[in-house]
Each structure stands twice: as structure tokens, then as C-alpha cells.
């Protein structure tokens, strides 16, 4: 078992995490460094395909196959919904944030951050800890339900809060009118969103092809993962630093609350994951899904469904607070806990 300080040190002195801070410093020092957008988008497709294909190849080998994963998928779904709902009420009650922004933030907290997921995998790899490769593939099962739950709560809050104002707003009205119809559209959209789509598609490909015949592609996708992740986190650092600046206009209480929600979600995930039979490594990846705050699928959904929410708020929180926290402190804590429980 690893000591938490060892884990933190390993984490902080791993190349991907250091590249994140290199990105942060680039913004602070006004370097003209930027990751070309086409490269950044290519990198995301690569990373999602990489975790998808590995998940598929593993599920293909599991005794129960896809069926064995189902209970975990259900658990992920419950986690998404629960974290979104709990966050919503905490944000409204404790911070008195309006319904739209609370809904958008809650959706972000409940949904999944691909960067947190990838850092968790990289941390386990650094420490030589194995994990169930199918856990990253639970991504969409936690992501979409969280977003839908958050939108539902946000709209319900808006309706209650201010029936009159909502009625006079053509966009809001329009949305209320066909709210039910849009639910399906949100699910479809969150599953066809390019990142999730590639993840799910590669998973199916991994399932069909199977581990033996994937050897060649696996080498490419597996072997380059760490290096490509460095480039990805370099960009994440740039984005986090430039987004954090925009949070200055917001109640500073968002910082402790975001950390608290993340920590609670991650901790709970370790407990539940372990009790469902996940290895310590698997429990940490599951905790990464629960603890991370989404910055990709959430803005897309919220612009359509809770357009009153301020993107700077939820993007700034997800990228500038939750992600750096989990990357540097959260993940080592979850790992420590998972190892403690596994003894």
C-alpha cells in the first residue's frame, strides 16, 4: 500500500500533471504558447478512442461479458442523478444561486470530466496499480442522466421562481412548450457528442475485435496514451488558467462548495465501487468519474436548455477549480481510501 504523501508526490512529479502546470504558467507568464485547435481536437479523439477500445477489449474477455458491466452502469447512472440533485439543492440553499445557474453547475458536477478520468488512469499507471478497464466506459451512463436531472431541476426552479418572467421570454417559453420532446433530444445529443460517441464506438469496436486481434492498434492507442496525455494536459492548463480569471465576479464561496461536492462524490464512489467488487484501482477510476465536473457536454446542453445560465460560471468552476483540485489532491485521497478499504 502506498502512503498518501508518496502518492501525491508521484502524482505531482508525473509528467502529465507537470504539463498541466506548464500550461497554467504559460498563461500567467503571457507566453504565446497555444495548442493548435485541430491538434487539440485530434488529441481528444485519440484519447477517447484509446480508453474506449481498451474497455471494449477487456469486456470481451470478462466472463459475464456486457452483462457483468450492467450493475456498474446502473450505479453510475444513480451517481450522476444523485450528485446533480444534491448539488442543485446545496447551491440554491447555501449559496442562493439562481435556479438556472444552479442547474447548470449541478449538471457539471454530476456529469463527467474526461480530463479527470484520464489523469486517474495515468496516476494508476505511474504507480503500477491495475484497474478494471471497463470503468472508464461508464462515462456516458453517469454523464447524460446527470445533465438531464440538472436541467429538470433548473427548469422546475425557474418555473417556481418566476412564472411571469419566464412566460414573457420567447426562448424560455418555447422551451417550456416542448420540454418533454427535448428530453429525448438531450439524451441523443449527449450520446452523439463527439467525445462520448468515439468512446462508445471504440468500445464496441474493442468488443468486436477482441484483445488478441487488437494487438497492433492497441500498441498505438496504449503506447502513445501517456505522451499524448501530456499534450492534452498542457492545453487543459492553458484553459484552466484563462478560465479561472473569469470567476472573479462570482461569490468566492463557490470554491469551497465545488471542492466539497467533488470530494463527497469521489469518496462515496470509492465506498460504493469497492463494495461492488472493484479493485482499488477500479474504485479510483470510478471516483474520478463521480468527482470530476464536466466542461464539454454540459455547455452544449445548457445553452439550449437553461440558456439563462452564465457559461463563465460553470466553465470556470469545472476547469479552474474542480479539475485542478481533483488532479492534485482529490485523486490521491481517493486512492488512499480505496487501498485502505481493500485491506
Amino acid at each position: 500500500m502506498y502512503n498518501i504523501w508518496d502518492v501525491m508526490l508521484t502524482n505531482f512529479s508525473s509528467a502529465p500533471v507537470l504539463f498541466f502546470f506548464l500550461g497554467v504558467l504559460a498563461v500567467i507568464s503571457k507566453s504565446d504558447l497555444s495548442i493548435p485547435s485541430d491538434v487539440g481536437r485530434g488529441v481528444v479523439i485519440f484519447l477517447m478512442a484509446s480508453i474506449g477500445i481498451r474497455a471494449g477489449a477487456e469486456i470481451a474477455q470478462m466472463p459475464g461479458g456486457v452483462l457483468a458491466v450492467l450493475p456498474f452502469a446502473l450505479t453510475a447512472l444513480l451517481f450522476g442523478i444523485t450528485i446533480a440533485a444534491a448539488s442543485y439543492f446545496l447551491l440554491v440553499k447555501l449559496l442562493h444561486i439562481d435556479s438556472a445557474n444552479a442547474g447548470a453547475l449541478a449538471g457539471s458536477f454530476g456529469a463527467v470530466s474526461s480530463a479527470t478520468l484520464m489523469v486517474s488512469i495515468s496516476l494508476l499507471d505511474s504507480l503500477g496499480i491495475t484497474y478494471e478497464k471497463f470503468v472508464p466506459a461508464l462515462y456516458p451512463f453517469m454523464d447524460s442522466p446527470a445533465i438531464i436531472m440538472a436541467i429538470f431541476l433548473g427548469k422546475w426552479g425557474i418555473d417556481r421562481q418566476n412564472l411571469a418572467r419566464a412566460a414573457s421570454d420567447p426562448l424560455a417559453k418555447d422551451m417550456k412548450g416542448n420540454g418533454r420532446k427535448k428530453l429525448g433530444a438531450i439524451i441523443v445529443e449527449s450520446l452523439t457528442n463527439s467525445g462520448v460517441y468515439v468512446l462508445l464506438g471504440s468500445l464496441v469496436i474493442g468488443l468486436i475485435v477482441g484483445p488478441e486481434r487488437l494487438e497492433r492498434e492497441m500498441k498505438f492507442f496504449y503506447w502513445m496514451f501517456r505522451g499524448v496525455l501530456c499534450i492534452f494536459l498542457l492545453e487543459m492548463g492553458i484553459l484552466a488558467a484563462s478560465r479561472l480569471r473569469e470567476l472573479k465576479f462570482v461569490s468566492p464561496l463557490i470554491v469551497p462548495l465545488a471542492i466539497l461536492i467533488s470530494l463527497a462524490g469521489g469518496t462515496l464512489a470509492v465506498f460504493v465501487g469497492t463494495s461492488l467488487g472493484l479493485s482499488p484501482g477500479g474504485a479510483v477510476v470510478f471516483a474520478a468519474l463521480a468527482a470530476g465536473a464536466s466542461y464539454v457536454s454540459v455547455p452544449a446542453a445548457m445553452r439550449v436548455s437553461l440558456p439563462e445560465a452564465n457559461p463563465s460560471l460553470y466553465l470556470g468552476t469545472a476547469l479552474g477549480i474542480t479539475f485542478p483540485f481533483n488532479m492534485s489532491i482529490g485523486l490521491p485521497v481517493y486512492l488512499q481510501l480505496a487501498q485502505y478499504l481493500a485491506r
Partner: protein, 98 residues
């Protein structure tokens, strides 16, 4: 040469689909899109490069008759109000090659 209005919209890349839907509803069936616009506006600076769609802007241009331009402006105003951006209208002559 046909007298047309040249409507230019700068909007968040996430909203392109919405803008295009509005265009098609007012009958505009010709438009062009350029991605990867950076800049500064009321919401601060936007980075020129990011793999996250919601952090980049797009430029959309349509050459259309004046009535369609007017209808489009009405249709996109609520969107601009919410999410910011820019909408310019100017005069131009379109080469009639048919």
C-alpha cells in the same frame, strides 16, 4: 448584379446550429461559415484555439434579399441577447451568374 444584404454574425460555435436553423426558417438557403474566430467583446476575450467548442467563436455570413435579412435579424436577436456576439448588416451586389 443583384442588390443583396450581407448579414454577418459572430457567435459561439455551439450556437451555429441554432443560427442556421433560424436562417433556414426565414428562407435563407445560402450561407458560409468560418470556424476558429477569436476576439474580444462584452464577455471578455475568447481564445483563438481550444478543443472545447463552447470556447470558440464562428463567423457566419449570408448574402440574401433585404426581407430575409430583416427576418433573420429579428430571429437571432434573442440569441445575441443571451449569449452575446455580433451581427452586422451591409449592402453588397451579388454577381448573378445564371
Amino acid at each position: 448584379m443583384i442588390k443583396v444584404k450581407r448579414v454577418e454574425i459572430i457567435a459561439n460555435c455551439l450556437d451555429i446550429r441554432t443560427v442556421i436553423k433560424e436562417m433556414e426558417q426565414v428562407g435563407i438557403d445560402g450561407y458560409s461559415v468560418i470556424r476558429g474566430v477569436s476576439g474580444r467583446g462584452k464577455h471578455g476575450k475568447s481564445r483563438e484555439e481550444s478543443h472545447i467548442d463552447s470556447m470558440t467563436s464562428c463567423y457566419i455570413m449570408a448574402a440574401c434579399p433585404v426581407e430575409q435579412a430583416e427576418a433573420l435579424i429579428v430571429a437571432v436577436t434573442p440569441l445575441l441577447k443571451r449569449f452575446g456576439g455580433l451581427c452586422l448588416v451591409s449592402d453588397a451586389l451579388e454577381v448573378d451568374f445564371e
